[in-house]
Structure formats: C-alpha cells, structure tokens
C-alpha cells in the first residue's frame, strides 16, 4: 500500500497544516530563492502574497520584483536567472497564456527557472476552477512539466524542481503544476524538512552561462537556420537526460527525506493489474480510492499517475500498454478537434507496445466540475465489465457529461465513436 506518503515522528520533522499555495511558498523559501517576480491571478495569488510577506519580514533573503503583467513577470524572472540568481515565478490560466512567448524564450535560452502553475480553466466564460488545458498548453515549449497530487507532493516537487532544472545534464526550466483550489486553497498536513538537511541536499545554483555587464554574453541573436535546428535537437537531448535526472532525484530525495514517488509516474497497484487508469493531478486520489474498492471486490485494477507530462514517460506507458488488458484515460483537458491530452500522448507509444489493449479516453471535470471517487468507481467498473463482456475496443473520446446535462447530449460525437477491434 502506498497510503503512507510520510511517516510521522521522523527526526527533525515539522508537520504544518498548509494550503497548496503556502506549501509552494515554503519550498521556495527553503530553496533559498533570490528573486521572485510575479503578477497576481486567482488561484495563484496567495503564493506570491505569502512570499512577499516572508521577504517583507526578513524570513527570506530575496528580492520581489513587482511587474505590470505576466509577460513581464517571466521576463524579469528569466533576466534575474540569466544574471545568476535562483529565480521563481507563479501563475495560472490567462496569466500563463499572456506569458506564453517568454515561456518559449526561457526554455530556448536554456536558463534554469522554476514556475508554479496553479491549474485553472481558460475563458471565456470566466471560470476560476481547476482544468488542465492551461498547463498542457505549454507542452511543446521545452519546459519540464510536472503535476502534483497533494500538498505534500507540491512541496516536494517544488523543491526538487530547482535540483532538476539546475542539473548540468538538463539546464531547462521547470513547471510544477498544482490544481487550482483543489490543492491551492485546501489545507492539509505538510512535512517541512529541516533547513540544514535541505541545504545539504540542494547544491548551490548552477547554470550554463551568465549574462552580466562583465560576462559580455548576449542571448538570442539571429542564428543560422542550421544552428537553430541543432539547438532544438539539443533541447530534446536534455529532455532525454532529464528522464534519468528526475528518477535519480526522486530516489535521492526518498533516501534523505523519506518520500519517494516513482519518478515520471506513480504506479499505484499498476504492476501486473489487468486494467489501469491513467490520470494526472489532484483527482488521482479519488481514482485510487475507487481502485481500492474495486480491488476489494476482486477486480484486477490499478492507477498509473502521470507526474511528468514533459518529458513524457514513454517507457512506463509502453510497458503499461504492453501488460494491460484495458487502459482508461481520464483527461481534464481537450485539444479541440483532437482528443484528450493524456490519451493522445499515450497513443504515440502504442506502436512500441507488444499488445493491443482496450482503450477508453474520458473527458471529465472541465472547468472544475467535481468528479469524486464514486464516479471513478462507476466509470472504471463499467469499462472493465464492457471489455470482459464484448471484447476489446478503442473508444477514444467519451464525454463524462456533468450530472445536470447527462442524457441530454450524446457522450460520443460522430467520427469519434467506439471501434471494436473485431472489425479490424
């Protein structure tokens, strides 16, 4: 059982009850960040509010740069980082979209930076609740993209992000995602390790170059097309290295602080299970509860929780597809005219699989629509029962329509219907 994500009573452990946003701020402080530049946006605001408070009261030796927009927030963060300071920013939804140009610029510059993305729906219409379309929208930019399940992992991932991003094999910026309100505004126990232990574990900042008046370095000049091409090649090379680094950091963190999550993915009873759910973010816990109940009833089922969307866990997904009879993807986002993001990514690994499992992609919870353990139970049970009864199928885009509209709209749209493998 993976129920004990931390053991109580360890030496030097301080358990605080914190919101997800405060957990971020405590991790940023513990990482001895030197520059914070950010612009407020719900539900991110209390991260930088807390950091501003810590800086104001001298608990944190850092500079807070107040800026006029998110575009400037990341630009200032990148500037400070390029000059050699460990730097941090945080945003959500529309702020992240406004920042998007600099998101690419930061990754292209190969400067380590850490950013929290408090996931939130994108308007119109206005909606401040959880949704993964904002974070996955950064997919192609060259950032390492992670997402947490609970407040403890929010703290741990944020701290680890500095180590991963600043590793000389990686030198890429990193996003740590946490679900808006569901984590950002929920209070839960968080173990904050001893600062001395953190200082020993997290090395001083490393980076590939610095831009200062003395260094004479300039970044972003016009380059030959061939050089541009090879810079892209080298970002992908760093992503390959990042897979190793993420796994190493997870292991080392586990040894030092007692919490190990599994690297790119967390496997919750997924090894050897006939059926598996693939999911990311805070509602994974509800999916796990559903799985525990189904296992009690004799079902062979597990959860593979995607912790890192970039680099994508190719190896882990390939293995899951190869060993599962059926895989249920739960997406809290949709690429319009395409499909859910987790399913789309995972299907790129299908050709490497030694097996063709039944697949269903579910779109649920957009704009914060609540999906609890009971609904995960029903979704998973009906998927398994259908496969057992009718044989395997491909059902990529099933809309888990909110209760109030259920039955009034079709769950499958023309061209995205259920395809039985017997028809092949």
């Amino acid at each position: 059982m993976l129920l004990t994500w931390f053991q109580r009573g360890d030496d030097g452990m301080v358990v605080k009850t914190l919101t997800g946003n405060k957990a971020v701020a405590h991790a940023v402080k513990a990482a001895r960040v030197k520059v914070v530049a950010a612009y407020p946006i719900t539900p991110q605001t209390t991260i930088v509010e807390t950091l501003a408070d810590m800086i104001e009261h001298g608990e944190m030796n850092a500079k807070m740069i107040r800026v006029e927009s998110e575009h400037s927030a990341l630009a200032a963060t990148l500037g400070a980082a390029a000059a050699g300071a460990r730097s941090f920013t945080a945003t959500s939804s529309h702020g992240l979209l406004l920042m998007h140009e600099v998101v690419w610029w930061t990754a292209g510059a190969r400067i380590p930076v850490v950013m929290s993305v408090v996931t939130r729906a994108i308007g119109p219409p206005w909606n401040i609740h959880v949704d993964h379309n904002d974070i996955w929208d950064q997919r192609d930019s060259g950032w390492i993209i992670s997402i947490a399940e609970n407040n403890q992992e929010v703290f741990d991932l944020t701290l680890q992000a500095f180590r991963i991003s600043e590793d000389p094999r990686v030198y890429l910026p990193m996003i740590v995602g946490l679900d808006g309100f569901i984590l950002s505004h929920t209070v839960a126990p968080v173990d904050i390790p001893d600062q001395e232990k953190i200082d020993q574990w997290l090395p001083p900042r490393r980076q590939p170059y610095v831009i200062t008046p003395e260094s004479g370095v300039v970044m972003g000049n016009l380059a030959a097309d061939e050089d541009y091409y090879m810079m892209r090649y080298s970002i992908q090379t760093a992503m390959v290295e990042a897979k190793k680094v993420i796994s190493e950091v997870d292991d080392e963190y586990g040894e030092v602080f007692g919490r190990k999550y599994g690297g790119l993915v967390e496997c919750f009873h997924c090894d050897g299970s006939k059926y598996n759910i693939v999911i990311a973010g805070s509602w994974s816990g509800d999916a796990k509860e559903a799985v525990l109940k189904l296992r009690d009833e004799g079902y062979s089922v597990g959860v593979l929780r995607v912790r890192y969307f970039r680099p994508w866990p190719d190896e882990e997904i390939r293995r899951l597809l190869s060993t599962s009879k059926g895989v249920l993807f739960i997406d809290r986002s949709i690429s319009f005219g395409g499909k859910g993001h987790l399913l789309t990514e995972a299907m790129t690994n299908l050709a490497e699989s030694t097996n063709l499992p039944a697949v269903r992609g579910v779109i649920a919870g957009l704009g914060g629509v609540d999906v609890g353990a009971d609904e995960f139970y029903e979704l998973t049970k009906s998927f398994i029962d259908e496969v057992e009864e009718n044989g395997p199928f491909y059902d990529p885009l099933y809309w888990h329509i909110p209760q109030v509209y259920r039955g009034k709209y079709p769950e499958r749209l023309p061209g995205y219907g259920k395809f039985s493998y017997e028809r092949r």
Binding site: G84, G108, P204, P208, V210, N221
Partner: protein, 94 residues
C-alpha cells in the same frame, strides 16, 4: 557576480548565446562605396562620430583624436553627418 556558479553542461548543449567579436561576417570594409576621411586640423575632439558610429569603427587615440578602422567601416556616412564642424569628408572609393 562572484557567487554565480557557471558549470559546463553535461549533455549536448547548444545555446543561443554569443559574445561580440570583430569580423564575424568577414571584413565589411569591402562593402564601402565612400570612405570617411578625417581632417585632423578641423577636428574639435567632441567624439560625436565615435559615439554615433553603428559599427564601432571610429577609434579613439589617447589624446581623443579619432581615426577610422577601414577594415570594418561600411561607409554609411553617419560620422560625416553628425560632425558639427564638417571635419569628415566622404571620399568616393577608387
């Protein structure tokens, strides 16, 4: 900043960074149709030409008298335009 820890990347790393260096596209002096010629007797050492030259090819001696780096001067004529005492003539090349 002395406390910045620059450490060599440990994977294939090609970053979009550069340091300024003379002549990265060859000797641009050959692009010139007219060359600036400084009349030292008229020059008042105001250094406006030195400030305005977009290619950093007006050079400055210790006594603030200026001279031209003809290897890289493209002959744009800005120095002649900004000279307040008309001490720079643009002379057609051979």
């Amino acid at each position: 900043m002395s406390n910045v820890n620059v450490e060599e990347p440990k994977s294939l790393f090609i970053a979009p960074v550069s340091k300024p260096a003379p002549g990265s596209v060859g000797k641009t002096g050959t692009w010139r149709h007219e060359k600036p010629v400084i009349n030292e007797e008229k020059c008042v050492k105001c250094l406006l030409c030195w400030l305005y030259c977009p290619e950093d090819t007006i050079l400055r001696r210790e006594d603030d008298m200026v001279y031209v780096d003809y290897d890289y001067c493209k002959g744009c004529g800005i120095c002649a335009k900004v000279c307040p005492v008309n001490a720079i003539d643009m002379v057609p090349e051979g």
